[in-house]
């Protein structure tokens, strides 16, 4: 076989495999949407699940997922940005800093189930927070902090060094420079990264099994006092999220329409994650255009 024929065959195989990957994704999305969209209705999105009978919905789960996402972001963003600023601006190059880097790297590669187990042991049992939204949010915070640190570092690195030096030369303190000069410029990167992290939080289940719990008590959607036990806003109640619900329905669901529920819930989950992805891209592009002179 001549070199040219080999080249042609290899090129053909590479293109075929790439097409196969693209087709697999299209098939995957198509399958979920095809199976799930038919089952999505207003009733399905708002009504509570049924244990044994047909026709259960995912209302509380959907609400829990969104509420948990908000709670987690409220805790994660200030912590992650603070730690990211420390790593990129305050940490001096040396043994301690590289040790911290190693620690962050290890934390980011911990399996989410380990984070969940740690949450069970320390947050749920030791701190006595029980299976609750707050426990879940704290576990997800641990899970997402390394990512948030990396995103912030990346964002700050994208700031032109002249901007920082000009600000410091004007006699503005370092912290004020970071806050008012560097962070605003880094914002597009940080924001689109955070939205991607939000998508990851929304789909996470393993870290939540043993922290936010697998049960969803009846919610009273007319009671918005966070201190009442049936209130949807109460952070101390157990809360099964959408992703956990999909897993539970698939592995131990007793309802006769379990597969349809799983398909419908998967479709909702996929659509939300897709929206997060598209949102992050669109926002990143919009802010990039707005903040820079490029078209």
């Amino acid at each position: 076989m001549s070199a040219k024929t080999a080249d042609k065959i290899a090129t053909g195989i590479i293109i075929a495999i790439t097409a196969l990957i693209a087709l697999a994704l299209i098939g995957l999305l198509g399958y979920i949407l095809y199976r799930g969209l038919g089952h999505i209705s207003w009733h399905f999105l708002t009504s509570p699940p049924e244990a044994i009978r047909k026709g259960g919905g995912i209302g509380p789960q959907l609400f829990n997922s969104l509420f948990l996402l908000v709670l987690t972001m409220i805790i994660t963003v200030p912590l992650g940005i603070g730690a990211g600023i420390y790593m990129s601006e305050y940490a001096k190059a040396g043994k301690i800093t590289s040790a911290i880097r190693l620690v962050v790297e290890v934390l980011s590669s911990f399996p989410s189930i380990i984070v969940g187990l740690f949450g069970l042991l320390v947050i749920v049992n030791k701190f006595n927070l029980g299976f609750s939204l707050l426990s879940g949010a704290l576990a997800l915070t641990i899970f997402n902090l390394p990512l948030m640190v990396r995103i912030t570092e990346q964002g700050l690195r994208s700031v032109p060094v002249q901007q920082k030096e000009a600000s410091l030369a004007l006699g503005i303190s370092k912290w004020k420079t970071i806050r008012s000069v560097q962070l605003p410029i880094a914002l597009p990167v940080v924001l689109s990264g955070s939205i991607l992290a939000a998508g990851r939080i929304f789909g996470e289940a393993a870290a939540l099994l043993f922290t936010a719990g697998m049960s969803s008590p009846r919610l009273d959607f007319s009671d918005w006092n966070p201190l009442h036990s049936a209130s949807p806003l109460n952070p101390m109640r157990p809360a099964e999220t959408l992703a956990v619900h999909i897993w539970k329905v698939n592995s131990e669901g007793l309802a006769p329409d379990a597969t349809q529920i799983a398909a419908g819930a998967s479709a909702v989950l996929i659509i939300t994650v897709l929206l997060f992805n598209l949102g992050a891209r669109a926002l990143g592009r919009y802010m990039h255009n707005k903040f820079t002179a490029s078209k």
Binding site: T11, L25, F118
Partner: protein, 300 residues
Amino acid sequence: MKKSNDREVATPHLAEEWVGKVYTFICILFLIITIFSMVYFVASKGLSTFIVNGVNVKDLLTGLKWKPDSDTPMFGALPFIFGSFSTSILAAIIAAPLGFCAAVFMVELSPKLGRTFMQPVIELLAGIPSVVYGFVGLSVIVPLFRDLFPGQGVGIAAGSLVLAFMILPTITTIATDALASLPAGLKEGSYALGATRWQTIYRIVLPTTLPAQMTGIVLGIARAFGEALAVQMVIGNAPHIPHSLFESTSTLTSAITLSMGNTAMGSVQNNALWSLALILMLMTFVFVFIIRWLEGRKKL
């Protein structure tokens, strides 16, 4: 007089500076305390199986029978360890060539299509939640394997196929970065000598980027090793070493997921599960160090 004026101006600055330093330091301190307490708590729980309950370390690592509820409980975790390693390594064997081909397509063959089309495809694959992968695996791959091969369809084959798709984005992204960062002169030199594209890729590009490719593959294996729910849904969850790829088995993560909720805290059954978690955690350390070592080699 002038001096005191200066001080008045300087003090708020210093206070502000102090706020920033303390705030960011507390954030990083929180991170460090978290990881050390994580290692401490999981390790102390996982080791208590051996210290408090007197289970032999060797029995746990090499035992073949997992019978926590029988009269003479047996805690042989080898089937789980075997399941975890075989599914994640098989997943990497499936995903690595696919990822390399996709990366070659995106960097060498058609950068334009790669950027506008394949890049979003890979990002979407990365964004799909693991339970959705598990659901699709359970409702498409398992029935397909059940029809095509003898057995129930669940098992290592189904698990590693699902995992392969989940780790494909990791492998592809790192392979793409590695190919893109290759000095152009290297390839041009090869082309100038009359080599075809495939010869260049096979003889020049692949060997030079091999450490980086390996980093991607190890990262992929690490991710597959720790993935819990998607695997648990398609692996079958029988606690023994299977005789074929299509026979029900378990992994470390699936065993933990299934049983952790059904055992009482502090019991030997529960502690044994923490030992599995400890193995999982130690493997994470091993993966991180392999990756560090590979990255060190890449720089040379």
